[in-house]
Symmetry: C2
Subunit: 211 residues, 2 copies
């Protein structure tokens, strides 16, 4: 019932224009948020009027969904794209992504701002992020299962917690890094945390918090 008209728009010039707009929208929504960013600002950046934007996407709401879905090459944790690594290589891939992201503040900020903003009431991106996290947790849990199988060990029931926690550290460190890049080493801190969590799943230790 909602938005599906892909074929009819194949004119090359038009597609390029749409890409320009989406790129500009990533930057504006990233730096101002979805609510705070305006079509006017996006239009200015791409050199047209806000009416032009609406001609292409119909509404601000629809533009956001396009931004979230259609990020293409420029994405933060490019798991779902292309050939996803699995097993241990997935964890290495996540760490590598963090190091790369340390040089892409713009796109990182867009995801940080939009994902957190999506928890607000009736936010148009809520469904997208809910499904995204569910999917990513599933991929990470699967990687844990593969690693356990390789080593012939039973899958600990901590896999679910660990999968959520890995995504969580990645996101949370990005917030702190964006607020003060000099105080947080995004790559190394992510690497440390993922290693700690993976190790804890594979080699459970008695809780250091026990009294």
């Amino acid at each position: 019932m909602a938005g599906q008209r892909r074929q009819p728009r194949s004119r090359p010039e038009t597609l390029a224009r749409r890409r320009d707009i989406v790129d500009a929208a990533v930057e504006i929504f990233g730096s101002k948020g979805f609510t705070g960013g305006t079509l006017q600002e996006i239009a200015d950046q791409v050199g047209m009027t806000h009416a032009g934007i609406l001609h292409h996407f119909g509404s601000k709401h629809a533009l956001l969904l396009e931004v979230l879905t259609h990020r293409d090459e420029t994405d933060v944790a490019d798991l779902e794209e292309q050939h996803i690594p699995d097993g241990m290589p997935l964890f290495r891939h996540l760490v590598r992504t963090a190091f790369i992201n340390a040089h892409r503040a713009g796109i990182v900020q867009a995801y940080v701002v939009l994902s957190a903003e999506s928890v607000t009431d009736d936010h148009p991106g809520r469904d997208f992020f809910q499904k995204r996290y569910e999917s990513l947790r599933g991929e990470i849990a699967h990687a844990f299962a593969v690693v356990c199988a390789e080593r012939g060990i039973d899958e600990p029931e901590t896999i679910g917690y660990a999968s959520a926690a890995i995504l969580a550290v990645m996101d949370g460190l990005q917030v702190q890094w964006l607020l003060d890049p000099s105080a947080v080493d995004l790559g190394r801190a992510t690497e440390f945390a993922i290693e700690a969590i993976v190790d804890s799943v594979l080699s459970p230790a008695p809780s250091p918090l026990a009294e």
Copy 2:
């Protein structure tokens, strides 16, 4: 140069009214964000007009700062308040806070939304959150130092990464939990992650990611 007039406002009725407004603001900013929430909505909730709000706080901007600073009893990770635990009890305290927060979606959402929104350009809450994270990282790092001293071990240089990572998992898990409470066990996942990170600092293991 900015905002300091505490003494002159001591009338009991007025103070109570201001508290009502701040409480309402936490709820509205939490559910709609700072940019998305309006003075009108806050005013409705407290039973007055938006002009009344401005009489008390001067501007929306100032009201947000009051919300962030003056949260009093209702706070998410009540570290800086009262007698802060130190050493190992601090980590237990953080875990306990996560379990408690699982029953306070409102205030959790307020902090999630506002902290992420604060990374946007010229956000009035940016300075607050920057200093808050810096302070919290320092407290956690100190707890690590205390624990290391107690055990007579050298302080690993991973303490900095671990401190940021602990705050990060707490924040990141809150986002996933708010988006889908049934998919994430906020308390247990936080407990698992903090245990993993603390253990990794105290008993460093060879990286499981090494090829």
